[in-house]
């Protein structure tokens, strides 16, 4: 008889929603999910956003986020039903038997307190060790997790260390009270690929070394395949498929699981440069005001009409800064930017209306890029009015055409952004950019905040629109899988300079420089044992860890 640590039976979770203009409604978001977890094993919960995976993970601590509450079923931790516990009993469970690692450690650490005090807080509060013992334990964990200067690391404040380090510190915080179960809620999603791999390895090693059991929640099947023993695929609050890692990855039974496994399979034939480049960046150097450090160093790239140039690199590599220089938000100190045959003024305020119209942007966070109090019709209609003077019926008709182009249908025209899903919001942003009839759209990490299947849909849409409208994309991303799917040419950026540049096939064909190799090898692959293989063959350390 295996030693069952966590036993979830027919778990049902509900929430109250407040649709605008209607009475509050109680809805069920998880519909009877069951699973068990043995001591020392790792179960991966996977699914897109809204699948209920975080909600299920938190139910193992009897916790409901916001208005979410557990409405039915049983959750046994070490044999006792924690849903029947009183608040005092739950406090003894949380932070002692079950601990939690959040997606954004940067937000989950209290900015006003030293890291060490937060890491050992539960250990002290539950009376598990003296302060000196707890600190020694924390330092040991810092060392195990590969944090720099483990003896003094804890003396720093959260803002003084990097995102990848904080994520590891949060893992240390979860492991410090020596719990039986750790809930990892998308612990590497917010990190660069190169940093993700280090954190992933550290987490895997820590799980292995301490013998703790874990629930590992993520939307990235390739990641979860590296750390889990079992995987449960969730969709809309229901179990789609539940089995061992090799069953799910190698012989998926359900249609949905198969879609997840083959999500990166968009094929895109590389187009060769033809005609005059629509965008020509020559020897551009730029720095932020009041600093004496060049964030862009002598960058030169070209982009041809109807093609896609992907700019890839880790955070801090200067790829978004390049977009700021092109759009005029950060005037370059040196160099020249030619757009559609004419040289662009460096300063935004000196640019002509046509320059602005023909150069549009789409952002990573679609929901903050739209006014929440405007309807979809107003949002897409704004550039139509501003650039083309369209009004009334003509404007509405054009908005409807654009909605058709982004495959959303006219029913959305009077809806507000809050009523749309993440993918739909991004589609509206694309329509707004297209409304200006641009020659070039700068796409800044437009799929990073989306679920893989939704992101794949957006990429297909962008490729489609490129064929119809002949628009060029400057595609900024840290995700090399995306790059392979849509780019014609690629610029790899590292510390503000272009490290490698050329046609897609050339850039992605060996021999690689060390940095490109690191980037490429860090993209998680849907393969068992990938993580160990990569770590064994690395040539350089990632910069951002």
């Amino acid at each position: 008889m295996p030693d069952i640590l966590l036993d979830v039976r027919n778990l049902k979770i509900g929430a109250t929603v407040y649709p605008p203009g209607e009475a509050p409604q109680d809805i069920e978001i998880v519909h009877g999910v069951s699973f068990t977890l043995e001591k020392g094993k790792v179960l991966g919960l996977i699914g897109e956003s809204g699948a209920g995976k975080s909600t299920i993970g938190l139910s193992s601590m009897a916790y409901g986020r916001g208005g979410v509450r557990i409405t039915g079923g049983e959750v046994f931790v070490s044999g006792r039903d924690i849903l029947k516990e009183r608040p005092g009993g739950l406090r003894a469970l949380r932070g002692r038997e079950v601990t939690y690692v959040a997606q954004s450690a940067a937000a989950a650490f209290n900015p006003a307190k030293k890291i060490i005090d937060q890491v050992i807080e539960t250990t002290l509060m539950h009376g598990l060790a003296t302060r000196a013992e707890a600190e020694a334990r924390a330092v040991g964990l810092f060392r195990k997790l590969g944090l720099p200067n483990p003896d003094t690391f804890g003396e720093r404040y959260p803002h003084q260390v990097s995102g990848g380090q904080l994520q590891r510190a949060m893992t240390a915080m979860a492991l410090c009270p020596e719990p039986d179960l750790v809930v990892f809620d998308e612990p590497t999603t917010a990190l660069d690929v190169t940093t993700q791999i280090d954190v992933l390895a550290a987490i895997k090693e820590a799980i292995h070394a301490t013998g703790v059991a874990a629930l590992y929640i993520t939307h990235d099947l390739a990641v979860v395949a590296q750390v889990s023993d079992d995987i449960m695929v969730l969709r809309n609050g229901k179990t789609v498929e539940y089995g061992t890692v090799s069953e799910i990855i190698e012989t998926p039974k359900e249609e949905y699981t198969r879609a997840l496994v083959s999500v990166h399979a968009i094929e895109h034939e590389e187009k060769k440069p033809t005609g005059e480049p629509v965008l020509k960046v020559e020897n551009v150097t730029a720095r932020y005001k009041g600093t004496n450090f060049d964030v862009l160093k002598n960058v030169s790239v070209e982009l041809y009409p109807g093609q896609t140039l992907a700019v890839v690199g880790e955070s801090g590599s200067g790829k978004s800064t390049l977009a700021r220089a092109i759009t005029g938000l950060l005037p370059p100190t040196k160099g020249r930017i030619t757009f559609a045959g004419r040289e662009l003024s460096k300063e935004l305020k000196d640019r002509k209306l046509d320059d602005l119209r023909e150069l549009q942007m789409i952002y990573q966070m679609a929901d903050v890029a739209m006014n929440p109090r405007h309807t979809v019709g107003t949002i897409i209609g704004r550039p139509l009015e501003f650039y083309f003077g369209l009004k009334g019926e003509a404007k509405r008709k054009r908005v409807q055409e654009l909605l058709d182009e982004i495959e959303m249908g006219t029913g959305f025209i009077d809806r507000y952004p809050a009523e749309l899903s993440g993918g739909q919001k991004q589609r509206v942003c694309i329509a707004r950019a297209l409304a200006a009839k641009p020659k070039l759209i700068i796409c800044d990490e437009v799929t990073s905040a989306l679920d893989p299947l939704v992101a794949a849909g957006i990429l297909r849409l962008l490729l489609n629109l490129q064929q119809i409208e002949g628009v060029a994309y400057l595609f900024i991303t840290h995700d090399l899988a995306t790059v392979k799917s849509i780019a014609d040419s690629i610029a790899v950026m590292y510390q503000g300079a272009v490290q490698r540049y050329g046609g897609k096939t050339d850039v992605l064909t060996p021999p690689f420089d060390d940095y490109t190799d690191l980037l490429l090898s860090s993209v998680p692959e849907m393969k068992l044992g990938w993580l160990e293989h990569v770590l064994a063959h690395r040539k350089m350390e990632s910069a951002g860890n």
Binding site: R94, R96, A108, N110, P111, A112, E121, R156, H159
Partner: protein
Amino acid sequence: MHPIIKLLAQRLSLGLLLLLAASALIFIGVELLPGDVAQSILGQSATETALRNLREELGLNEPALTRYFNWLFAAIQGDLGTALTNGQSISKAVGERLGNTLFLAFWAAIISVPLAIILGLIAVRYRNRWPDKLISAVTLSTISLPEFVAGYLLMYLFTVQFRIFSPISTIYSGMSLGEKLSAIALPVMVLVLVVLAHMMRMTRAAILNVMQSAYVETAELKGLRPFVIIARHAFPNAIAPVVNVVMLNLAYLVVGVVVVEVVFVYPGMGQYLVDHVTKRDLPVVQACGLIFAAVYIGLNIMADVISILANPRLRHPK
């Protein structure tokens, strides 16, 4: 240089600049009033010659700019001029009165600030339950009550019904601290009631805002007690907005207590100012204005400084 020192130096110099501007405004305001000091002293029936002589004597024929700077430099050296009504040094009178006002403000602050913050913490702990609603209802009713009504109500309660305190809060130098405290108990109570609600509600709102943060959820998932979460994890991040409201209320305790001082016959700055306004004693009005401006600006700079010091990003740069 540590960036925080630079920031603090910046704030301080800005404050001084602001004080200079305030002094100019006060001077201009008094200057714009019809009539001048000579006229006020000698009255409406004074002869032209007498006026001319007095103006000569007081230096009123100098250009306004010269008089402004003379006044300013004297004020910097601690000389605020002489009162017209009794010919005494303003600095001396103000020194005594300001001491009394600060004494009253100090005790009101010592009670009201911790009380407001603790009530705010309790209101957050039991938000939307009866303790929260009770605290809000009580503090809001006390702030809605005009000060003089609250003053007379307390006076009726504590001097007529229960003879605990004296209705007259006059204090003088020969009194012991205990006697002084007993004398000012009623005005302190009124002031506490008046300033409590603002600070309590700001504390509550600021902490509730922080309670939405991910790190508060982390604390909850660590199994910490609710009050520990509020006091240890939420409050340190809510200090900046709370301090600003606290300082505004402290400033009010110094410069806005005229009504309370009159009701309880307390010899503070407010009553001194009102007395001399009615007597058209312009040098005194000017001096009081300058002191009030200095207190206001000083307390607000202090709020800024505390907010800056409370921010770990500024305290511990990368």
